[in-house]
């Protein structure tokens, strides 16, 4: 079923790509999809007919034999499964109605709309009726066609915000032209039908598998119950039988095989459509722009992924967000960093991996990017070179900040939007402060209880000072015993239990010490766009000294002086004045949120 045997050489790949660029016409494709959809029902009917034929055959045998009755009952069970799952059940909505992202009105963003309309004209197709910005580094088109795709419908264009932020203008043109090329070739007409086919198939195979699994679980439970009853009655355990599989299991095999066939056929067509759309984009926006965009988008996707995970969601445990409009927009700051930009350029320009040929799957809707670029580079040079200076695509937008803020409102959940907004520069420190404050909560509570119960007067300026005073009074284990315990600690006794309490106390004390270091300005946690997201500025050898001081503080007997000295600056003025510049340490210690 594989469309091409992939030759090793790049040029040969380009040739194959050029050959397979022929896309079957719309009627042919419609017929294929429709045929596959009908085939699904025909398959179900065929099964029923086959069962009926079997019954008739059995009935025409000599009278009512036991075999015949067994056959009838079996065929009835299978037929019931087919009717119940395949024909009667409905998919859980087709999901095409939900519209992700933020809609852009022509009045709000006239430049972008003008650009899209111009490109549509040059491609030679009707422009989309709606443009929506979505998160991510993806672009796609959709069309609400009617009558099984024979009548064109409303066209919608979805643009990933990372593309707007990260692509130069000419490459965005190429991407837009590629997507419009899909319209021009009527690739989107069959979208609805294809969607119906895929969701129908997936739903059926999924339901059958679920039923089979449920049946098996029920049978196991029955067997277990029976064994328990026999045990209770004092009989030997029942004999284990091989689990029998119901008709659902075998039906699931049949329909999964059919689903695989459908996917192979339809996705093979989709892959050809991508090559054709690439050609259109090369014609309209220039060969080099299109191939540059194809190279850049994977890098952009990776950057966006990294940005969201490490920067935008940095404060997720503490319930903090970057400033308004910066949740997606902060990607521009990451891309503006010279170090990151150099990394991305290096990624973009690196030779394309050969391994892609082996990994390409017959179920992919897109051909390997390397093949697409090879096909583009095999085209004759159109003489259009990239223009300098390259303007970012964001320049096409009016009031980009308002757009980004609107996108956040459309995409983020209500709960997330209620998180506190913090300026970028303060985000790492605030995140740490919030989570450490939360983690030291039980310790402070235990401390207050112990101080109250023992009537020990403590006059320290900070929580840490008061806690260290209590330790000096010999109350370490009184406090530690009130901290929440893990399961393992709960099961231990004697000295082991005391060691567990010491461990829990030590880690809570570490958080409190770090919180104190943060509050007093001894250590700083700064945002860094070029390397690991958070850079720690601490006095020289602070991490080692802290570990050592904590060990002393929870030792038996405890010594709190080193920790006090360390956190009060200990004669070493941490910052400012004539103090030496702070060293940048690879930090934070394990176990603290990054």
């Amino acid at each position: 079923m594989r469309l091409t045997s992939r030759p090793a050489g790049r040029a040969a790949a380009a040739e194959t790509a050029a050959r397979e660029r022929g896309v079957p016409g719309t009627p042919l494709r419609a017929a294929l999809v429709l045929g596959l959809l009908l085939g699904f029902y025909v398959l179900a009917l065929l099964l029923l007919v086959a069962l009926a034929a079997l019954d008739v055959f059995l009935a025409r045998g000599h009278g009512f034999t036991v075999m015949a009755v067994e056959g009838w009952l079996g065929s009835l069970a299978i037929a019931w499964c087919v009717v119940r799952v395949v024909l009667l059940s409905r998919g859980a909505g087709d999901g095409q109605d939900e519209e992700p992202g933020l809609s852009l009105a022509p009045g709000e963003q006239p430049e972008l709309w003008r650009r899209v309309r111009e490109l549509a004209e040059r491609v030679g197709t009707r422009p989309p009726a709606r443009i929506r910005v979505v998160p991510g580094a993806n672009a796609m088109v959709r069309e609400d066609s009617r009558w099984l795709g024979l009548v064109a419908g409303e066209r919608r264009l979805f643009l990933g915000v990372a593309l707007l932020i990260g692509l130069p203008k000419d490459e965005l043109d190429a991407v837009l032209a590629h997507e419009l090329g899909h319209y021009a070739h009527d690739d989107t007409r069959l979208g609805g039908l294809l969607w119906a086919l895929h969701s129908r198939l997936l739903h059926t195979a999924h339901t059958l598998r679920q039923r089979a699994a449920r049946e098996e679980a029920e049978e196991k439970a029955r067997a277990a119950a029976r064994a328990a009853r026999r045990r209770a009655a004092g009989k030997p355990p029942p004999v284990k039988r091989e689990p029998t599989r119901g008709p659902d299991h075998y039906l699931a095999l049949v329909f999964s095989a059919y689903a695989r066939l459908c996917l192979r056929l339809t996705e093979a067509v989709s892959r050809r459509q991508e090559y054709a759309a690439d050609l259109t984009a090369a014609r309209v926006a220039g060969r080099d722009s299109m191939s540059a965009a194809l190279r850049r988008i994977p890098a952009l996707e990776a950057a966006d992924d990294l940005y969201l995970r490490e920067y935008a969601l940095m404060g997720r445990d503490a319930g903090l967000l970057p400033p308004e409009g910066q949740f997606h927009g902060g990607l521009a700051l990451l891309l503006a960093d010279p170090v990151r930009r150099a990394e991305l350029e290096a990624w973009t320009l690196r030779p394309l991996p050969e391994a892609v040929y082996e990994e390409s799957s017959p179920y992919d809707s897109h051909p390997p990017t390397a093949d697409r670029i090879a096909a583009l580079e095999a085209l004759p040079d159109d003489g259009r070179t990239t223009t300098f200076p390259r303007r970012p695509a964001l320049a096409l937008l009016r009031e980009p900040d308002r757009l980004l803020a609107g996108l956040e409102r459309a995409v983020l959940s209500r709960e997330t939007q209620s998180w506190r907004r913090v300026p970028w520069a303060e985000l790492p420190a605030q995140t740490r402060r919030e989570s450490w404050a939360r983690e030291t909560g039980p310790l402070l509570e235990a401390m207050a209880q112990v101080a109250g119960a023992r009537g020990v007067g403590v006059y320290g300026a900070t929580h840490l000072d008061r806690l260290l005073d209590l330790i000096d009074h010999g109350l370490l284990y009184d406090i530690a015993d009130r901290l929440p315990r893990s399961d393992q600690a709960g099961r231990s006794s004697g000295r082991a239990a005391r060691e567990f309490a010491r461990t829990a106390f030590g880690s809570a004390l570490r958080r409190l010490a770090l919180l104190t270091a943060l509050d007093t300005g001894l250590c700083r946690w700064e945002l860094c766009w070029s390397g690991p997201p958070v850079r720690t500025l601490a006095p020289e050898r602070f991490a080692e000294a802290l570990d050592e001081a904590l060990d002393h503080a929870i030792a038996d007997p405890p010594t709190t002086a080193p920790l006090r000295a360390l956190l009060s600056g200990g004669g070493r003025a941490p910052f400012g004045g004539s103090a030496p510049p702070p060293a940048v340490l690879p930090w934070p210690p394990p176990g603290t949120p990054r």
Partner: protein, 374 residues
Amino acid sequence: MNILIDIAGAGILLYAVVTLPRNIRKGRALRAEAKAKAPVNIDPAKYGLVPAAQLDKRFAGPDPEADAVAAAALAGDWRQAAAYLAGAGRDWDLRWYRLGILTHAAVEDDAWLKAWRTEYPGDPSAVLVHADALVSLAGKVRGAKLAKHTTAEQFEGFHRLLAEALPACQEAAWMAPEDPCPWIAQISIAVGLGWSHDDFRALWAEITARDPHHFGAHMSALQYWCAKWRGSHELMYAFADQAAAAAPQGSLLPVLRLDALMEHAFREPKAPVYNQPFVQSAVDATLDAVDRAPAGHHRLPAVRHLLADALFQTKRYAEAVEQFRAIGGYVGSTPWTYSANPVKAFVFARTNTFVAWEKAGRPAPPPRGHSLGY
């Protein structure tokens, strides 16, 4: 419609009748199969054995003196404990064994140990008990599960205690230069912290320089050389073979090879561990060593547990019966303690041994070709 129901009902009845003999046959076969698989039970009293419910899970064998010392120590009398340890004299393995008894008590509660150390800060024995107790406590905090089932909290306490234990061991070694025990205690630290082979061999040299055939040290070092810690099956067997071959007459070290076999079988339950060519000779050598050992030797119970298991695994039931009888009512030893339910594992091996022995007509153990030289 009625006729259809009648036909169906008649069909079902007919089917039941026709298939009745077949189902009876099937059921009989299945019941027979189940019976073959079902656990066998014997009456322990008939063979003079201790019933499963009365087996002692804590110890490998009886030692009333040790029990009394531990109880006294936990009650605060450290002087008896100190005298007990001193009583071992220069029998370093006996000292190590008695140290284990005191360590066990000190891990439960160290008030008596603190009193001892306060009164005699310079007593090397007190420092030794303290150091070894830290090592044991570290193991207790960590738990005996695999690393992936051990939490970060458990590891943190484990590493902190081992970090405290190492200097304590070194101090004890410095205070008693001739005593191998402070060095042997470090074997567990080496296992826990994953010392390199070179570092471990340096430690081993310190131990063998003080006592070349120390039983406890060899059992502990075998752990380091097993595949589950820092070694492999090959390294483990090489260590056990070398130690067993070099052991002097009267030493119980030949059991080391059975211990290695047990470790191998435990790690690879499907492997034909007990079919290896050297197994029979290793079992014979251990039987000889047990025969030669004086009655009441402090290591004899632990050796008998391993020996009984090896005899059971190699189907030498008549000899296994002897060992199970000698073991009596204790299961607190390897290999049973490796199982989630040591009593069940022990009773399984014991019951099957006696059943097989009964089936064979209660044969007497075969005579072995050696003279019992005392």
